[in-house]
């Protein structure tokens, strides 16, 4: 085999290798998605969203409390993490040249990598121990702590992509540094930041570990923030390790709903980004 043919063969081999790697990377996602879909679809019906869990041994019922609980937890987490993340990210991008800023950046990255169960323990110490009660607030805080570093870093990175000529333009009109950051730079970066927020949301929507000893769980319908609250991931976990056939089916349905929620966050992220970008360009 001459040199040219060998090079062609090698090139071919590498291309095939890349394709195989992509397949291997995508395969788990596809398998999970279809397996959950197949298992969950049979137990998924309108009752799942509207009915409360039935006592053991009684067929039927749903997870209305967990669906609402998850929404409440996500709302609390966002209320905590979105403002903090946006402002912290703006700080890092706009003022982030001092040693303190690099320390903050490093801390955010470390926080992002901390196992979620540890975040749960932290929130337990912070919001459960002092009042001696599991609560929706504690669960929301735990999830919020997980979102903060994601939103912070996304905000910072996207602000860095906004041309600094915009900042100069605002400053040249008599804007203060902070004014330029929040009235020009941040809106310019908003489409990307929205994506970051939705990515953070889908990351935490399915978290179980931080909720185990913060929001705990609740067999009953509750919207009170100071009380334990049900959530889909914890409910799925509880049902999945139970010995009851009917609960297993419902756990699959819960898993399917979770995957659906996260999937729709991802789609929403794309749609919102596209739309905002188009609005800017028009």
């Amino acid at each position: 085999m001459n040199l040219a043919a060998r090079r062609r063969a090698l090139s071919h081999f590498v291309v095939v290798l890349c394709g195989v790697a992509v397949l291997v990377a995508l395969l788990p996602l596809v398998l999970v998605f279809f397996y959950v879909l197949r298992q969950g679809i049979t137990a998924l019906n309108w009752d799942f969203f509207t009915k409360m869990p039935k006592p053991v041994g009684e067929a039927g019922g749903g997870m209305a409390n967990a669906v609402v609980g998850t929404l409440i937890l996500i709302a609390i987490a966002s209320a905590v993490a979105v403002p903090v993340g946006l402002i912290a990210g703006t700080y890092l991008s706009e003022y982030g040249r001092k040693p303190f800023a690099s320390l903050a950046r490093f801390t955010a990255d470390v926080l992002n990598g901390i196992p979620s169960i540890v975040i749960g323990i932290f929130a337990y110490g912070l919001a459960v121990m002092p009042v001696r009660r599991f609560s929706a607030i504690a669960g929301g805080l735990a999830l919020g702590f997980m979102m903060i570093p994601i939103i912070t870093r996304t905000t910072e990175e996207l602000l860095n992509l906004v041309p600094s000529s915009l900042r100069e333009g605002a400053l040249a009109l008599g804007a203060t540094r902070a004014r330029a950051a929040f009235s020009v730079m941040l809106p310019a970066a908003l489409p990307g930041i929205m994506t970051g927020i939705l990515v953070a949301l889908s990351r935490i929507a399915g978290e179980t570990a931080p909720l185990l000893f913060t929001a705990f769980n609740n067999r009953f319908f509750s919207t009170r923030l100071t009380q334990p609250i049900a959530s889909l991931p914890v409910q799925v976990y509880t049902y999945a390790i139970s010995p009851y056939e009917d609960w297993h089916r419902q756990a699959w349905a819960g898993a399917l709903v979770l995957v659906g929620v996260i999937f729709s966050f991802s789609v929403l992220a794309r749609v919102v980004t596209k739309r905002l970008e188009r609005m800017h360009a028009r």
């Binding site: 040249r97 041309p163 000529s165 915009l166 900042r167 100069e168 333009g169 605002a170 400053l171 040249a172 009109l173 008599g174 804007a175 203060t176 540094r177 004014r179 009235s183 020009v184 809106p187 310019a188 609005m279 800017h280 360009a281 028009r282």
Partner: protein, 285 residues
């Protein structure tokens, strides 16, 4: 093969001096002594970290006229311009020595409010930088942040600024659409309108037409010509014909130093320094 093919035509021949249009010297004959000095620098030195970019620049910008800064790339003319509204403040590790006076008051002096300074000394940048907002919001931005107009007055002030920048007729039907949908020349005039809206006393322009085609450039130049009735303008330009067309005074910079500053017609017809003549006639730079 001969060397001739490698030589650029500019170096091979001596082009004629840029023509000085007669209108500027005829219509605005104000002699330097008659107009009030609006901005002035005294022994201005500027440093990026350890390297010095400007050396002992003493220069005045007379009221209601255009002063052009010319010189080869890296000569410090943009840096100098950005000293006049303290735009260099935002670059870390820069240092200014000497005085920059606006109406006789040192703008780097203690207790001087840089935000107020930038409202009084507006700036238009080389690359147009409209905010990703509507046309209206772009022009209204400076008014809003400085609290210069009540909500009800906004439309009127925005219209006035857009008319001042000769853009009103082109955008009056689409004030609410994004500024990013405008053409390059329109975007630059929008940026001028945005600067005019806050009614500055001095307008600094950093190569405002260098990224534009000849037609858009002509519009900007005509606009500058109009603006000097009411505003004091300092403009950095690479284009010597442009300096000759729009300005009353020209300052020539080289390697961070001011070589000379005089009436534009004098600089372009009978410069005091040999090096100025060499630059203007295209022998280098």
């Amino acid at each position: 093969m001969t060397d001739v093919t490698l030589m650029s035509p500019e170096k091979g021949t001596t082009p004629a001096r840029p023509e000085v249009p007669s209108r500027s010297s005829l219509e605005s004959p104000a002699p330097p002594s008659a107009s009030r000095i609006r901005m002035e620098t005294r022994k201005l030195n500027f440093f990026y970290g350890k390297s010095q970019a400007l050396y002992d620049i003493s220069l005045s910008v007379p009221e209601k006229s255009v002063t052009a800064f010319i010189g080869p790339s890296g000569c410090g003319k943009s840096t100098f311009l950005r000293c006049l509204n303290r735009m260099n403040d935002i670059i870390p590790e820069t240092r200014v020595e000497g005085d920059v006076l606006l109406d006789g008051k040192d703008i780097y002096g203690p207790g001087n409010d840089v935000v107020d300074l930038r409202r009084r000394v507006g700036m238009v940048f080389q690359k147009s930088n409209p905010f990703p907002k509507s046309i209206f919001d772009n022009v209204a931005y400076g008014l809003k942040i400085n609290g210069l107009a009540r909500r009800a007055e906004m439309p009127e002030r925005v219209e006035k600024a857009l008319k001042g920048a000769a853009l009103w007729e082109e955008v009056k039907d689409r004030l609410e659409s994004s500024a990013l949908g405008l053409s390059g020349g329109q975007q630059q005039r929008l940026c001028i309108a945005r600067a005019l809206a806050v009614e500055p006393e001095v307008v600094l322009m950093d190569e405002p037409a260098s990224a534009l085609d000849p037609i858009a450039t002509q519009k900007i130049e005509e606009l500058i010509y109009e603006l000097k009735r009411n505003y004091t303008i300092a403009i950095v330009t690479h284009n010597m014909q442009q300096a000759a067309r729009v300005s009353e005074y020209t300052a020539f910079f080289m390697l961070g130093r001011l070589v000379e500053r005089d009436r534009t017609d004098k600089i372009f017809t009978n410069p005091g320094q040999k090096i100025t003549e060499d630059y203007i006639t295209g022998r280098f730079g």
